[in-house]
Every structure is written in C-alpha cells, then in structure tokens.
C-alpha cells in the first residue's frame, strides 16, 4: 500500500483524542490522589496537648495562713513560713503566673487579682533566679482591656514580666484522662511554651453557681471555646480542672473578699476586709480554708470533696498543719 497523506480531519480527531485522554488521566489521578489523601488524613489524630505537672517534687503539701491588713507583708510572711521563694522558684526557671484578669474593672473593685500582689510575686520570682515570668489569663471581657483596667498589665511591665494576652491561635485541645467534661477542649497552650513553674494567683470572690471563685475556679481561665456550657455541671468541671492543672504554688488573696454580687462585683460595698493571705502547694486545701472567709463551709463547695477524692489535694486543710501567722499592720 502506498503511503497516503493523513486525512486532516482524522489528524485533528486523533490530536483531540490525545488531549481528551490526557485530561481524563489528570482528572483521575488528582481525584484518586486527593481521595486517598483525605481517607488517610481522616485516620490521623490532630495534635492534642498534655498539660505538664508543675508541682515541685519532694515537697510535702504545705499551707500558710497569714492575717494582717498589708497584702505584701502578708505574702512575705507566708512565703517565709513555707520555706522562702527559693523553695519553689530556682535559677533559670521560667514561671507562668495564672492571674484572674477576667473583667475589665479597676483593682479597687476586687474582681481581679490585685496588681500589687502580681508585682511582688514577679519581683520575688526574679529575685529567686527566674529567667522569665509570663502573666496570662483568658478573660471574659475584652482581653487587652482586662489587663489594662485591672492594673495587672502595668504591674507586669514595670517588674519585667511578659503579659500574654491570649489570641485564638494560642489554644490547643486538651483531654483529661478519665475526665468526663474536659475532652478535646481548647485550652491555653502558647503561653506555656518553655514554662516549668506555674503559680496561680486568685482573689477570694463570691460566685453564685459554684459557691465561690478561689484558686481552683481560677483555672477556668485556662479554658477557651464556649466554656459557658460547663456551668451546667460546674462542680464536676472544677474538680476536673483540679486534676488537670498541677501548679507549683497557689496564692489566694483574701486581703479583701468579694462577699456578694460576685464574681463581677462593681461596688465597694460588695467587698469586706478579711485581711488574710493564703499560700499553699495544695489548691484544694487553700480553697477549703479560703471559702471560710466568705462565711461559708468547705462542704458548700462540692467540687472540693470531688477534687480531693480524685487525689488533687485535701479539703481537710487542718491535716496539713497550716502555719498561722499574725502579721499585723506594717
């Protein structure tokens, strides 16, 4: 057969056929590849985060209760009684202070941790050799405003600590092993980067739903997401927080206590001068004593018994042989 020049229509058809085949092949390959990848991704567990145990090993649970009108003097006396700051913060330590900065209200209202207390704690951490101190909270009101209004931001800056105002990206899901409520729930993660000591600083406040807002309730401010759903079972949640967060030290400031209209307050008449500073390595014990400043009993806070039963501390604070000191006015 003699070679005939190819029919131009046929040539065009073949060329189109090749292009069509290539398009089909690419579609198939992309679809298959993506489908395979999605199927695989589905099996992957997205990164969760485990909160480390910040309690200092080898220290017996201690509780110091100092009475007196001067907040800073009380704190100094209490820390001296508990072995000094150097027992808890050592050279090179990176300390996170979890304050209560929930509301954009001035220090006089008492709804937030007092800035003097924050400043003194930071100064003492640095004096004990800490290389870095970070102050954080995930407040209820607009965060930047909370740190400014409460005076905590200014106190931290003046003493050389970093204020960490949380943003959306700073949260990672945590799960409490054996927990019922804290499961894959977003919690503050970024400020914990490189931290090896955790100190909780909480005021003594009335809280209608949980009975009182003390050092354990203060950990609520580590949670993100729509955390208000937990109010349906707040005692279980606080007991779970007590298990999740193991702090180096908690400082419960009862120099003045918000005895009603909590936890926001708003009026000086909501406050009572209770003149007490509580420092403990056991937050359950600290709270069990702290609630008495509000004229309530530890049994009025069912989460204390639950936290104790779960091994997070003891609600029978007298068992710790608390050191009681009368500091008097400065």
């Amino acid at each position: 057969m003699s070679a005939r020049p190819m029919d131009p229509q046929r040539r065009d058809f073949l060329a189109r056929g090749l292009k069509a085949a290539a398009a089909i092949a690419v579609t198939g390959a992309v679809g298959h590849g993506l489908g395979w990848k999605t199927a695989r991704d589905h099996k992957d567990e997205p990164g969760e985060w485990r909160l480390p145990d910040f309690s200092k090993p080898g220290i017996e649970p201690r509780l110091g209760i100092v009475t007196g009108p001067d907040r800073i003097r009380n704190l100094q006396k209490a820390m001296d009684a508990l072995g000094g700051w150097s027992s808890y913060v050592g050279p090179g330590d990176r300390v996170l202070l979890k304050v209560n900065a929930a509301f954009a209200s001035p220090p006089s209202i008492g709804a937030t941790t007092h800035p003097d207390l924050v400043a003194e704690t930071i100064a003492q951490c640095f004096r004990a050799g800490a290389s870095r101190v970070v102050v954080t909270d995930n407040p209820i009101h607009e965060p930047a405003a909370c740190f400014e209004w409460s005076g905590i931001g200014a106190a931290a800056r003046a003493t050389g600590a970093d204020v960490w105002v949380p943003r959306d990206r700073d949260f990672k899901p945590v799960t409490l092993r054996g927990g019922r409520l804290i499961r894959r729930w977003p919690a503050l993660h970024a400020p914990f980067e490189g931290i090896n000591r955790l100190i909780g600083l909480a005021p003594v406040k009335d809280h209608y739903r949980s009975g009182a807002s003390l050092t354990l309730k203060n950990w609520y401010g580590l949670l993100g997401g729509k955390r208000s759903v937990f109010h349906q079972d707040i005692h279980t949640l606080i007991a779970e927080l007590a298990q999740l967060v193991r702090a180096t030290l908690v400082i419960l400031d009862g120099t003045s206590a918000m005895i009603r209209n909590g936890p926001t307050g708003g009026s000086l008449s909501d406050l009572k001068a209770t003149h007490t500073m509580i420092v403990s390595t056991d937050p359950v014990a600290a709270d069990a004593f702290g609630v008495t400043l509000l004229g309530r009993k530890a049994s009025d806070l069912p989460h204390l018994a639950r936290a104790a039963a779960a091994g997070a501390g003891t609600a029978s604070y007298e068992m710790l042989n608390p050191i009681r000191i009368q500091a008097g006015p400065s």
Binding site: A104, A145, R167, S228, H231, D233, H235, N261, G265, S299
Partner: protein, 599 residues
C-alpha cells in the same frame, strides 16, 4: 522634578497616611494603637459632610472645622483634593493607569474622553444635599409652631436625612478598609484583634468597593467622574479658582496628547471644563509644544466654567432629595428591635448625622457594632447597630470608644462617668441601651430544668440586674419508695433508681410522707442508695415504703429592669448560640424615654 512626580509622591503619602490611620484605630496603649492619632482627619477634611451636617442639624461638630481648610484651598486652587489627596482617587488613578498602559494614544484619548453623563455627580450632589436640607424645614416648622400647632406634623415628617455617606469617597473607603480589608488581612497577621473579626454586610461593602475599583479598567477614574458627590462639590467650589489649568495660546497642533492622559476628562485641548479638572497636571508635560500651564489666566481657548446641568434635572434631583426623609418615614417605623451604640442620639437626630463611615464598628473592641442591613430601615442602611450575639462580648461596661470616635456626633461623646451614671451624672443614672429579657422557652434552667446561670454570673452591674429565683423541680423518674433508711442514707430497689446523669450537687431528695419534707442535698448516688448532706440529716429516718422524690435544685435568672442597662453581656455569654435564651431589646433605652415600660 516634574510636577507630576510631586503629585504622585503626595498621593502615595496621603494614601499611606489614610491606611495608617485605619490601622491605628485599634483600642490599646501601644504606639501604633489609638492614643491621640487623628484617625478621623480625612473624614473631617470633608466639606460634603460639613455641609450636610450644617444643613441637616444647623451645627458643626468639633473637628469638622478642618473642612474649612479644604474649602479655602479649593476656592483658591481648584480640585486639588481629588488629584493630590483623596486616597480613593489615588486607587482609581492607579488602576486606570494599569488598564491603559499598553493602549495606543487614540485608545487613551477615547477612554479619557469627556462624556455628558459626567454631570450625573452634580445631580447626585443636589439630591444628597436636598435630603439633608429638609432639616432646615424642621427648624422652620419649630418656629412656625408658635403660630399654629399644625406645623408640628411637618416637624415630625421632615427631619433631615444625611445620605451623603453612601457615596462620599472617604466614608466609602473607611468602610471598605475597616470592615473588609483589615479584617481579611488580619486572618493572617492576627495582630489587630484576638480572633477573627466579622461584620454583617461585609460582602456587600467589599463587593461595591471591588466594583468601584475594577471599573477603572474600562473607564479610568469612573467613580470620580460620574459618581463622586464630593468631587462635584469641589467642582462647584473651584469655579472661581485663582489658579487654573489652561492653554497659553489658542492655536495648537491639535495633537490631543494632552487629552490622552487627562484624569478628569476635562478636555484641556479645547474649551476646558474647569469643574472636571482634578489638577493631575499630566497635560503640562504631555503637550509637545509646552502650551499648557497652571496659571492665574484663563485658558486662551476659553473655558466652560459650569457643568451643563438642565433645569429640569436640578429640579428633579432636588425634589427627589426632599422626599427621601418623608417617603422613608412613611414606609413605616424602623425595626423596633434596633439597638444603637451607647450615647446615640434620638433616631431622627442620629440619621441626620450618621455618615456610615464605620469608625464606631472598627473601634468596638468586642465586634458588636455592625452596619445595619434592614434593622434601621431603608433610610438607615449601613448605620451602626449593636448585635450582641454576633460579637465576642457585650458592650463593655467601662468602654466609651465608639462614642469618642464618632466624627459627626451621631453618637454623643460620653465620658465614663456619664456612661456609668457616676459623679455629676449620678442623678441621670447609667446610659441604658435597652433591657434584657429571659426567653423562658429556651433558657436551660427554665425550659429544661438544667442548671446554668452564666448570664447572672457575668452581669457587670452592681447590684446585678439578673437575680436568681431558687426552685426545686421534680426529676423525671424520681418518684420512688424507700426500702430502708437511716439518718443519712436512703436505700432503693436498684432497678428503680435512675442512673445519675446530672450533677449530684444540684439533686435533692424529699420525703413526701411524714412531717419532715424539707429537701436535702444528695451528696452520694450509687446503684441503689442515696446519701444526703451529712450537715443536714433527717431527725427520724424515713420509714420503709415512704415516698421519696428526687428534685432538681435550680437557680433561674430573672431580670431586674431597674438595674439592667442593656449592655448585652448576658446575651453574648448565653451558651445557646443558635438563638440566645436571654436577649436585649431597646425597651427602656436612655435616648428614647417613651420606650420605657416601667411605671
């Protein structure tokens, strides 16, 4: 350096300054945040706003004196603002340049040609000023009411309506940058806000902005030439400008190179349309014979000093403008649920001042202020409305940011003392935006017997405006018979005692037979037994067969309208996010005393 390069540097400078002011309109104390930056400066330079406010309200809010500077300079120099300062104009010019950079001179001439439709902006200006000027009638009616009370009807119908903001290029650009571009950019940078920022209607604002920019690819400076009412006002103001663009001699080669590069489409080669000239100065350099100058003398080829408006066009736009307020007010009242920012004026006075610049929405730290879609009616489209369920919190108790930033005083500047009702304002009480109402059909403790009261906890006023009603409600399956009992424990048939699902702290038990029927708190709940609070034992253990009832102890929120300021913190924290179980409506808002419902 060529004058056109000076102009470009000037334009870039003002564009960057504008963007910088948008950026620093952030509540905070850092140097790049709001702490004395004159962030409203561009809005205050605006004589259109100033004129609208003077016509509509008879007063000029402080800060808008800056508009006098623009007016004086325009009277002397012509439309310098359009070509040298306006950040929106700079964007139009840049995009128009992109679209034409490869076009032939003939094509460029065609795109930069004058079109009669450019007179549209003068009609728009007439329409907008007429709408605002109805405010004059209101005041005239106030005077005439002394003669006859019938004039009161006119006063009610015909308050001025400031609609200029919708086409005002500066308000337009503020809206687009503040409510769309910055929130979009901050998804990456996360520098301005703690989380993603949302604004209802952002798609519309962004879409209009994009359309206004992209249309320059067909006709350069489309917005400036056809729509911009501010440019039209400058055109009128610059009618007798001392310096003007024009030819030094009438005869020229008629190469039209000057018109190929003319931003205002003002025909510099022939009888120049001075009111269209934006002083871009391109023609000064494009004329090969150097016949065009910016001089005190008029063009040797003559000028067309005024836009060729028709009398019927002016009458039609005046009439249409006069009818905006009466017509839209006949359409019906605004949505009664509309909540305005704290310190907002009475609705009529508010609409005579609001230019929809979005500064209040930008500054609101909790993202509760949004442009109105339908809430404020047709007339109030784009004006700020507080939406507590869309933001990240309620109106913060100790925040007055939106009241301080409002450039036109639609929101009165409040001091913290005035907002909280302290000091010299103690007699007036706090500024109320409305009142919260509990939806008992959705509220967990009311509708489903589940504990919650997050709203009560977060209520920021003292004493709290949300009080608690304590009740015991029977638990489903909670009617039981006691098998045996001691003072602290009750034993039941294992198959009958429901498994504990709720927090035991909120569960109580009551003996229905016998004298002691006070409920006791359950502290222990295992398979077949209930332990009660050891601090509160039964005096005599219940007898075998006694009826026992399981109860839920509930704290139910009740709003005290005398304390509530309508800040919406409760609404924003309510865990029922689909439709909150406690919602604020503007009942009893301070700005409108008749909205009160309390005797």
């Amino acid at each position: 350096m060529k004058i056109t390069w000076v102009r470009r540097i000037c334009q870039v400078f003002f564009l960057l300054l504008f963007l910088w002011f948008c950026l620093v309109t952030t509540v905070g104390t850092a140097w790049w945040q709001l702490r004395g930056w004159p962030v409203n400066w561009f809005l205050q330079l605006n004589p259109l706003t100033a004129l609208g406010l003077i016509l509509g309200t008879g007063a000029l809010p402080s800060g808008l004196e800056w508009a006098m500077l623009t007016i004086v300079l325009t009277v002397i120099l012509g439309r310098f603002f359009c070509g040298w300062v306006c950040p929106f104009g700079t964007l139009h010019q840049a995009i128009g340049w992109l679209g034409l950079r490869r076009a032939s001179p003939a094509e460029q001439c065609m795109r930069h040609a004058f079109r009669p439709a450019q007179r549209m902006k003068y009609y728009l200006l007439t329409f907008l000023l007429a709408a605002a000027a109805v405010g004059l009638l209101t005041r005239a009616a106030g005077f005439l009411m002394k003669i006859s009370p019938r004039w009161q009807a006119v006063q009610g119908m015909a308050a001025g309506s400031l609609q200029a903001g919708w086409l005002d290029p500066l308000a337009f650009m503020h809206r687009a940058v503040n409510l769309v571009l910055l929130p979009l950019a901050d998804r990456w940078t996360q520098a301005l806000w703690i989380g993603p920022r949302f604004h209802q209607g952002a798609a519309l604002i962004g879409g209009l902005f994009l359309a206004a920019l992209l249309i320059n690819l067909w006709i350069p400076r489309f917005y400036c030439r056809y729509l911009c009412p501010l440019g039209a006002l400058y055109g009128v103001l610059g009618r007798f400008a001392l310096w003007r663009i024009g030819k030094k001699q009438d005869a020229c080669s008629n190469c039209l190179l000057c018109e190929a590069d003319c931003e205002g489409a003002c025909q510099p080669a022939g009888r120049i349309r001075a009111h269209e000239c934006v002083l871009c100065m391109n023609c000064l350099h494009s004329c090969p014979d150097d016949l065009i100058g910016y001089r005190t003398a008029r063009s040797k080829s003559g000028e067309r000093p005024a836009p060729d408006l028709t009398r019927r066009g002016v009458v039609a736009s005046l009439l249409a403008g006069f009818m905006v307020a009466p017509f839209s007010r006949l359409t019906g009242r605004r949505d009664p649920r509309l909540i305005r920012p704290p310190g907002s004026r009475l609705e009529r006075d508010f609409l005579a001042r609001c230019i929809r610049c979005g500064q209040c929405m930008r500054i609101c730290p909790t993202n509760i202020l949004h442009p109105s879609i339908s809430e404020a009616g047709l007339e109030g489209f784009g004006s700020p409305v507080a939406k507590y369920s869309l933001g990240t919190g309620g109106c913060q108790l100790r925040c007055v940011a939106c009241t301080q930033i409002c450039p036109t005083g639609a929101i009165r500047p409040l001091s913290l003392d005035e907002k909280l009702g302290r000091g010299t304002h103690a007699a007036d009480g706090p500024v109320r935006m409305g009142t919260a109402f509990v939806d008992r059909g959705r509220c967990l403790p009311w509708a489903m017997n589940r504990p919650c009261i997050v709203c009560q906890e977060n209520c920021p006023v003292s004493p709290k405006a949300i009080t608690i009603q304590e009740v015991f409600e029977p638990s489903p399956g909670g009617d039981l018979a006691v098998i045996r009992a001691d003072q602290l424990t009750l034993y039941f048939d294992e198959t009958l005692l429901p498994a504990s699902r709720n927090a035991t702290e909120d569960t109580y038990c009551r003996i229905t037979d016998g004298p002691d029927n006070r409920p006791r708190r359950v502290v222990e709940w295992t398979g077949s037994q209930l332990g009660i609070d050891p601090n509160d034992p039964w005096k005599a253990p219940p007898v075998k067969g006694a009826g026992a009832e399981l109860l839920m102890h509930l704290q139910r929120p009740v709003v005290d309208p005398k304390q509530c300021i309508g800040c919406g913190v409760c609404e924003s924290v309510c865990p029922l996010t689909v439709r909150r179980a406690i919602r604020v409506t503007p009942d009893n808002e301070t700005r409108d005393p008749p909205s009160g419902f309390l005797l």
